[in-house]
Symmetry: C2
Subunit: 133 residues, 2 copies
DNA sequence: ACTAAGTTATTGCAAATGCAATGAATAATC
DNA sequence: GATTATTCATTGCATTTGCAATAACTTAGT
């Protein structure tokens, strides 16, 4: 029965290989593109929240975000009330590139499930949603 | 519809965090435990095959296998016919530890799908198997 | 048989990773 | 209100990672 956990791991690693290769030219390899996508869709998360939302180590996430700020994709803002927090937003360059990231993710996703009927795709979506915590 | 690809990535990253933490004490962090499990179950793969079977970069896989040979978990053997190939087998220490690795994988898998009925688990297994070409 | 193309393991190197530790700010407890 | 515990961002450091390149070997094509 642990084919499930193995298959899921295999799909993730394969997908990451392809996506990192695709976005290296934009300086968004090493899963960096994920941060831009998530930040665009949910602006204002603080660093730890963003890290947790993508299940990546906080220190790794911190450094990736720094890099993305330096390269103009993201932007940080101190929280007004809680002085510990630094909230993350997309900068211009991040907003500009989002459509392309989004399109590629959709393309990858479509290809992944292309062997399934529409009904099976719906089933799979529902089953997986029950697994994430 | 790309919740599928996101959920799958989230599950993998979370599972890896937990498994690496669990097996660090054995020197099997950084996904090293995967190599021992797969080699035990399918002995005699050559290095590239093993790497491909777990969707991990060949150079990374090569170095991990080297480390596992040094630490006594795996063993390499030159192929008799094709002088390029080095085939991988578990060493004693690898065989000894396999039951524990296997049990943890089963435990993780069971916990992952614990929110699903038996029928849903079967469905999910079948759907995922269609995704991994 | 010879050459070209493809495959393998392996190494170099720069960059990424992640555990552990720190200091600052907030929340909880007494 | 003082103290303790928790949470946040950040840095240090050793290890890991993976792209690119190389050499040895095998296969395919002529």
């Amino acid at each position: 029965m642990f084919e499930i956990i193995r298959d899921i791991g295999a799909i993730t690693r394969q997908t990451e290989i392809e996506t990192n290769a695709e976005f290296r030219r934009l300086g968004l390899a090493n899963n960096a593109f994920i941060y831009v996508i998530r930040t665009y869709e949910k602006p204002g998360m603080f660093l730890g929240q963003l890290a947790d939302s993508v299940q990546i180590d906080r220190t790794t996430a911190f450094r990736t975000v720094q890099k993305l700020v330096d390269s103009g994709y993201l932007r940080l803002e101190d929280d007004a009330k809680d002085k510990r927090l630094r909230r993350v937003y997309v900068a211009q360059k991040g907003a500009d590139v989002y459509p392309e990231l989004h399109a590629f993710e959709k393309h990858s996703s479509d290809r992944l499930v292309s062997q399934l009927t529409a009904e099976e795709q719906t089933q799979l979506t529902q089953l997986l949603s029950k697994l994430v915590y």
